[in-house]
C-alpha cells in the first residue's frame, strides 16, 4: 500500500502546485485585464488632453487646416490605442477561463484522487452529520412560512407609484355617463385647476401658476408640436380639456358641431352634430360679419358632461361619449355681432349671460339665465338692465360666499352665485363690453373699449358706484381681450397690440409695450410667461414681470382668434384651420 499512497500523494501535490500556478496566472491576467479595462473606457479615451486642447484651439481658429489634420491624426491614434486594448481584453477573456479551468481540474484531482476510503463507524459512534429530530425541520419550515407571510404583508405596502383609486376615478370620469345616476356632482376646485374646464380655464383666470409653459416650438418642422389636427369647422371658441379629453365647437350658418379629441394623441374621438333643435333656427338678429363667430362661445365641462352654446341660441349638453343629455334653443339672441358669451358652471347650475340689444320699442330684454345642468330646464331667469355684451361671467369668492360677476354696459353686477340674487351693482362701463371680468387682489377688475379699466371692491351691497371703486385707469384699457393676472400684476392687452402691465392692487401702470399685429385672442399666463396670439398667427411670449421682457415670438402659420388652453403640460391652440398641441422644444 505504501507505494500507492506515495503515488497518490505525489499526484495530489503536483495537482495543487499546478493549481497554484494556474491561479497565479489567472490573477495576473485578471489584473492586466482590469488595468486595461479601466484605461480603455470610452470616457478615458475621449478625455485625451491633447485632443481636447486641439479642439479648443480649433474653436478659436476654425479655418486652420493644419489644426484639423492634427486633430484627425490624434483622434485616430487615440482610437487605435483603444482598439488595441480591446483586442488585449478579448484575448484575456479566453486566457482567464482557460487558466481557471486548469485550476479547477487540478483542484479536482487534488480533492478526489487518493482520498481516504470511508471507514465504518465504531460501536456506539455517531457521525456529526446525524440527522437531528424532525421537530427542528418542522420549526424551520414554519419559520419559512412566517417569513413568506411577512413578505406578502410587506409586498402589500409596496403599492406606491400610482394611486389605484385615483386611476379608477379617472376612468370613471371618462365613462361617467354610463355609470353615474342621480344628481350630477360638481368637481372640486383642485380638479378644475388640474384641467381647463371653461373659457380661460379654472375660475376663468387664464392663469396656471405651477406649470412651465413652452417657449420654443416650430410649427413648420413640427419641433415641439405634439400633434396638429385639421379642424372640421371654423369657430372662435377655445378648447376645454378634462382628463385627456379635449372639447371644441365649430359651426357655420346652418350647422353646429361639438368635437371631442384625445388630448394626448389628437385623435378625434367623436363629433356630435347638433342639428335643428325644436324652436331653433338658423336666423340671426344681425348678419354675422365673421365666419368664426357662429361658434364663438367656449364650451364648459364639469368632468362628466360638456355644455356648448352657439350663436344661434342652441344650448346642448353631451356626456363624454358624445351622447346628448339634453338640448334646447334659447331662441334668436339679439346680439349685434353674434352671441359669444361662454357658459359658466356653478354647482348644479349652468349660467348663461344672455345680454341683448334693446327691442325696437326700447325694452331691455337682457337676462341672466340659470338652468339645471342635469336637465337643461330653467331654474331662474333674472332680468338685467344692460345692453348686449360679449363677456363671460366670473365666479368669485367674497367673504365666504360665491358671487357671480357680470359686466355689461353700463353695469357691473355682483349676484349671489347660489341664488342669483343681485348683491351689488356699479355703473362704470360704457360702449361695447367684450372683455370678461377678472379677479385680483380681492377686487373685480373689468373694462371696456375706449372707456375705463376699473377695480371694484365686491364686498358692498346695493349701488356702490361711488363707494367701492378701488382704482381706475382711462388709458390702455381692455377692449376685445380679457385681461389676465397672476394676482400681483395685471396685464391688459387691446386689439391693437398695446400690452400694459398694472399693479393689481393699486392700478399703478408699470409698463406698456406695443406689439406687432392685431389681437382677438385673450392672453394667458403659464408659470411666469404670458402668451398672446395675434390674429395673423404670431405667438408673443413675454415674461409676466414688472418690466417688459420678451421671451419669444413664434409663427403659428395661420390666423388665430381663439384664446389658447393649457392642461397636462401642453398648450392647445386653435387656429383658423388647425388645432395644435404644443409641448415645446426648450
Amino acid at each position: 500500500m505504501a507505494p500507492r499512497a506515495d503515488t497518490a500523494g505525489t499526484a495530489r501535490t503536483t495537482a495543487l502546485r499546478t493549481a497554484a500556478a494556474g491561479m497565479a496566472t489567472a490573477l495576473v491576467v485578471l489584473a492586466v485585464m482590469t488595468a486595461v479595462g479601466l484605461r480603455s473606457s470610452v470616457s478615458a479615451t475621449l478625455d485625451s488632453r491633447e485632443l481636447a486642447g486641439l479642439k479648443a484651439a480649433l474653436r478659436n481658429d476654425p479655418a486652420n487646416e493644419t489644426l484639423k489634420q492634427r486633430i484627425r491624426e490624434v483622434d485616430l491614434e487615440v482610437r487605435r490605442k483603444y482598439f488595441e486594448r480591446q483586442r488585449l481584453l478579448n484575448s484575456g477573456r479566453y486566457v482567464l477561463p482557460a487558466a481557471l479551468v486548469l485550476v479547477l481540474a487540478c483542484l479536482h484531482v487534488a480533492a478526489y484522487s487518493g482520498g481516504k476510503i470511508p471507514q465504518p463507524l465504531k460501536a456506539g459512534e455517531r457521525r456529526e452529520t446525524e440527522a437531528p429530530g424532525r421537530s427542528a425541520s418542522l420549526r424551520s419550515v414554519g419559520v419559512v412560512a412566517l417569513v413568506l407571510a411577512g413578505v406578502v404583508v410587506f409586498a402589500g405596502t409596496l403599492t406606491g407609484g400610482i394611486d389605484e383609486t385615483a386611476l379608477r376615478r379617472l376612468c370613471a370620469e371618462k365613462n361617467t355617463a354610463k355609470v353615474r345616476s342621480g344628481p350630477v356632482a360638481y368637481p372640486a376646485d383642485t380638479e378644475n385647476r388640474k384641467n381647463w374646464p371653461r373659457f380661460r380655464g379654472a375660475d376663468g383666470a387664464g392663469y396656471v401658476p405651477e406649470a412651465t409653459g413652452p417657449s420654443a416650438w416650430d410649427v413648420a418642422t413640427g419641433k415641439g408640436v405634439i400633434w396638429k389636427e385639421v379642424l372640421p369647422m371654423k369657430g372662435a371658441s377655445s378648447p376645454v380639456i378634462w382628463g385627456g379629453r379635449l372639447f371644441l365647437t365649430g359651426a357655420d350658418k346652418e350647422n353646429r358641431e361639438v368635437y371631442c379629441y384625445e388630448s394626448v394623441s389628437g385623435e378625434l374621438l367623436w363629433t356630435h352634430k347638433v342639428g335643428r333643435l325644436p324652436g331653433g333656427s338658423d336666423s340671426f338678429y344681425a348678419e354675422l360679419w365673421n365666419d368664426e363667430t357662429y361658434a364663438a362661445s367656449t364650451p364648459a365641462t364639469d368632468g362628466t358632461r360638456v355644455y356648448a352654446a352657439f350663436a344661434n341660441g342652441d344650448l346642448v349638453c353631451l356626456d363624454f361619449n358624445g351622447s346628448r343629455q339634453w338640448a334646447r334653443s334659447l331662441g334668436v339672441i339679439r346680439n349685434s355681432y353674434g352671441f359669444s358669451t361662454s357658459p359658466v358652471l356653478y354647482r348644479n347650475l349652468l349660467y348663461l349671460q344672455l345680454d341683448q340689444a334693446r327691442t325696437e320699442d326700447g325694452r331691455t330684454v337682457s337676462r341672466l339665465l340659470a338652468v339645471d345642468k342635469t336637465t337643461g330646464k330653467d331654474i331662474r331667469s333674472v332680468n338685467r338692465p344692460v345692453l348686449d355684451s360679449w363677456s363671460t361671467p366670473l365666479v368669485m369668492a367674497v367673504n365666504g360666499s360665491d358671487q357671480l360677476i357680470t359686466t355689461s354696459s353700463p353695469w357691473i353686477i355682483g349676484y349671489d352665485a347660489a341664488t342669483t340674487e343681485e348683491i351689488w351693482r356699479i355703473d362704470r362701463l360704457d360702449t361695447e363690453v367684450v372683455a370678461s371680468p377678472v379677479a385680483a387682489a380681492g377686487r373685480v377688475i373689468a373694462g371696456c373699449s375706449e372707456y375705463e379699466l376699473v377695480a371694484v371692491d365686491p364686498s358692498g351691497s346695493g349701488e356702490v358706484s361711488k363707494t367701492h371703486v378701488t382704482w381706475f385707469a382711462e388709458e390702455d384699457v381692455p377692449d376685445v381681450l380679457t385681461p389676465v393676472t397672476d394676482g400681483r400684476l395685471l396685464f391688459v392687452a387691446d386689439a391693437h397690440g398695446m400690452l400694459s402691465c398694472y399693479e393689481a392692487a393699486t392700478g399703478k401702470r408699470l409698463w406698456n409695450q406695443k406689439l406687432e399685429g392685431s389681437f382677438w385672442a385673450s392672453p394667458i399666463i403659464i408659470g411666469g410667461r404670458l402668451y398672446l396670439f395675434s390674429k395673423d398667427g404670431k405667438c408673443h411670449i413675454v415674461e409676466a414681470a414688472d418690466s417688459y421682457r420678451p421671451v419669444a415670438l413664434i409663427d403659428m402659420g395661420e390666423k388665430i382668434s381663439a384664446t389658447p388652453a393649457f392642461a397636462g403640460g401642453r398648450l392647445f391652440v386653435r387656429g383658423r384651420r388647425h388645432l395644435f398641441c404644443i409641448c415645446g422644444d426648450d
Binding site: 495530489r12 495543487l16 502546485r17 493549481a19 491561479m23 489567472a26 490573477l27 485578471l30 479595462g37 480603455s40 473606457s41 470610452v42 484627425r72 483622434d75 482610437r79 480591446q86 484575456g92 477573456r93 482567464l96 477561463p97 481557471l100 485550476v103 479547477l104 487540478c106 483542484l107 470511508p118 465504518p120 457521525r127 452529520t129 427542528a136 425541520s137 418542522l138 420549526r139 419550515v141 414554519g142 419559512v144 412560512a145 413568506l148 407571510a149 406578502v152 409586498a155 402589500g156 407609484g161 389605484e164 386611476l167 379608477r168 379617472l170 376612468c171 371618462k174 405651477e210 406649470a211 412651465t212 385627456g244 384625445e262 394626448v264 394623441s265 385623435e267 392642461a567 403640460g569 409641448c583
Partner: protein, 439 residues
C-alpha cells in the same frame, strides 16, 4: 500543502467574483468622431432565427444525452462517464447553445402558451420541457445528473462540500416550489420571463451579461465550492417538477449495485444530503406522530385559505411587473405632474396614437386580474408549505441506505463509497447486471 490548497480556493473565489465583469463593461459603444472621416458605417443587421435543422439537432442531442445519462447512471454506474457527459453538456447546451433553450426556462414558454392564446409553443421548446420529465418518470433526475448545463457548471466547482444541517436543508427545500409557482404566475399574469432574467449562469455561457447577473452567478459558483449545487437544490423551479416525477420513477440510481448491508460507508458520500438512512426499529412515530400528522393535515387547508386571502396583496407587485400597467402608471404620473418631458415609453405610446383612457382601463383590468393571480400564488404557497410540513411528519420504514428520490440528482458521487461497487470494479465480485429500481 493545505495552506496552498486554501490559497488556491481563496484565489478562485476572488477571480470568479470579478470574472466576466470586464467583458460586460467592454460592450459600451464607441462614439463616432465629430468630423467627416469618410467611413461608412455598416448597415445594422439582425441575426436570423436558428435554423430548424439545428433545433432538431438540439432535440436529438438532448435525447441522446438523457439516454446516455440514464445508461451511465443506472446501468453502467459510472461516475466518470457522468462527469464527462456533464462536461459535454456544459460545452454543448451551455457554451455553444448559450444556455438557451433550456428546460428550466421552457417552464415559462409552457405557462405562457396556457395563458396566452396567441402564443404558440415551439416544438423544440415543448421537447425540451417534456423530454426530461419523461425521462424522470422512467429513470429519475438523470437530466440533472449530467445533461443540464446549469447543473454541470455547478458540479465542476464542488471541491470542498460541506453538509448542511437537515433542518436548513428542509426549509430551503421549499424555495424551488415557491419559485416555480411565482415564475408560472408571473409569466401567466405579466408575460415576463423572470427565470431567464434571474438565471445566474447564463452570463457565463454567453461571456456577457448584466453585471448584477454575473456577480450573482459568481457568488453562487464560489459558494458552490463549499455548498454543492445551490441552484439545483434551493432555487431551480424545473428541479421542483423533476423531484415529483423522480419520486414515482420506474427506475432510479442506487448507491450500491446490490442490497444494502448498512455498512454506513456512504453516509457522507453525497454532497447534496440526498442519502436516506435506515429508519431503524424506532420508526414510525407512534401516537404522538399520528397526532402531529393529523394536526398538520388540518393545517393544510388553513394555510391554503390564508394564502388565498392574503395573496391578494401580491396583486400590486405583479401589476408593477406588467409592462402595460407600468406604462399606464408612468403616463398617469406624467399627467398628474403635468410633465413636459415624457419618458421614452410614454412618448412612443403617444406618438403611436395610443389612447390613454384605453390604457388606463386596461391597466385597471389587469390590476384586478393580478389580484386573482396573487390569490392563486398565495394558495400555492400555502399548499407547498402545508405539504412540506406533512411530508416531514411522515415516517417511512427503510432497511438500508437509499438515495432520496426527490433530492438525488443521480450524479453518481456515492457509487464509489459502496464497498460492493468497489469490489465489482476491482473484479472481486461479479458485476450485477439487473437493472435496479433503487427501492
Amino acid at each position: 500543502m493545505q495552506r496552498l490548497n486554501k490559497t488556491c480556493c481563496a484565489g478562485l473565489v476572488a477571480v470568479l467574483a470579478m470574472l466576466y465583469a470586464l467583458p460586460a463593461e467592454s460592450l459600451e459603444r464607441f462614439p463616432p468622431p465629430d468630423f467627416e472621416s469618410g467611413f461608412v458605417f455598416p448597415e445594422v443587421t439582425k441575426p436570423g432565427p436558428r435554423p430548424q435543422l439545428l433545433e432538431y439537432l438540439d432535440v436529438s442531442v438532448l435525447i441522446g444525452a438523457l439516454s446516455l445519462a440514464a445508461y451511465l447512471g443506472i446501468r453502467k454506474r459510472s461516475r466518470t462517464g457522468l462527469a464527462v457527459l456533464g462536461v459535454f453538456s456544459l460545452a454543448y447546451f451551455g457554451l455553444w447553445r448559450r444556455g438557451c433553450i433550456c428546460p428550466v426556462g421552457a417552464i415559462q414558454n409552457v405557462a405562457l402558451s396556457l395563458s396566452d392564446g396567441g402564443y404558440v409553443l415551439p416544438l423544440s421548446v415543448a421537447a425540451f420541457f417534456f423530454l426530461p420529465l419523461f425521462f424522470a418518470l422512467l429513470f429519475g433526475r438523470v437530466f440533472c445528473s449530467s445533461v443540464c448545463p446549469l447543473g454541470a457548471i455547478q458540479d465542476v466547482v464542488v471541491l470542498k462540500p460541506l453538509r448542511l444541517p437537515m433542518w436548513l436543508e428542509h426549509s430551503l427545500g421549499v424555495l424551488p416550489y415557491l419559485y416555480l409557482g411565482t415564475a408560472v404566475v408571473v409569466t401567466m399574469a405579466t408575460g415576463r420571463f423572470m427565470i431567464c432574467r434571474l438565471d445566474p449562469y447564463v452570463g457565463f455561457f454567453r461571456l456577457s451579461g448584466r453585471l448584477a447577473m454575473l456577480i450573482t452567478g459568481g457568488i453562487l459558483l464560489v459558494a458552490g465550492v463549499f455548498v454543492g449545487r445551490i441552484y439545483c437544490r434551493f432555487i431551480c423551479p424545473y428541479g421542483a417538477i423533476l423531484r415529483i416525477f423522480s419520486i414515482v420513477s420506474k427506475w432510479h440510481v442506487r448507491i450500491g449495485p446490490r442490497d444494502c448491508v448498512a455498512c454506513t460507508l456512504c453516509e457522507d458520500a453525497c454532497p447534496y444530503n440526498a442519502i436516506l438512512k435506515p429508519s431503524g426499529e424506532s420508526a414510525p412515530g407512534g401516537i404522538a406522530g399520528r397526532a402531529l400528522l393529523a394536526r398538520l393535515i388540518i393545517l393544510l387547508p388553513l394555510l391554503m385559505l390564508a394564502g388565498y386571502i392574503h395573496g391578494k396583496r401580491l396583486g400590486p407587485v405583479l401589476s408593477k411587473m406588467h409592462p402595460r400597467v407600468r406604462l399606464a402608471e408612468q403616463l398617469w404620473v406624467e399627467e398628474e405632474r403635468n410633465a413636459r418631458v415624457r419618458s421614452d415609453q410614454t412618448l412612443a405610446f403617444i406618438e403611436q396614437g395610443g389612447v390613454p383612457k384605453e390604457l388606463f382601463g386596461e391597466a385597471l383590468l389587469l390590476k384586478s386580474k393580478n389580484e386573482s393571480w396573487g390569490r392563486l400564488l398565495g394558495l400555492w404557497a400555502g399548499a407547498v408549505t402545508g405539504l412540506k410540513l406533512i411530508s416531514l411528519s411522515l415516517r417511512r420504514r427503510r432497511e438500508g441506505y437509499t438515495p432520496d428520490r426527490a433530492k438525488c440528482v443521480s450524479c453518481g458521487r456515492c457509487f464509489s463509497s459502496c464497498p460492493q461497487h468497489r469490489a465489482e470494479r476491482r473484479g472481486l465480485l461479479p458485476v450485477e447486471r439487473s437493472v435496479p429500481d433503487g427501492s
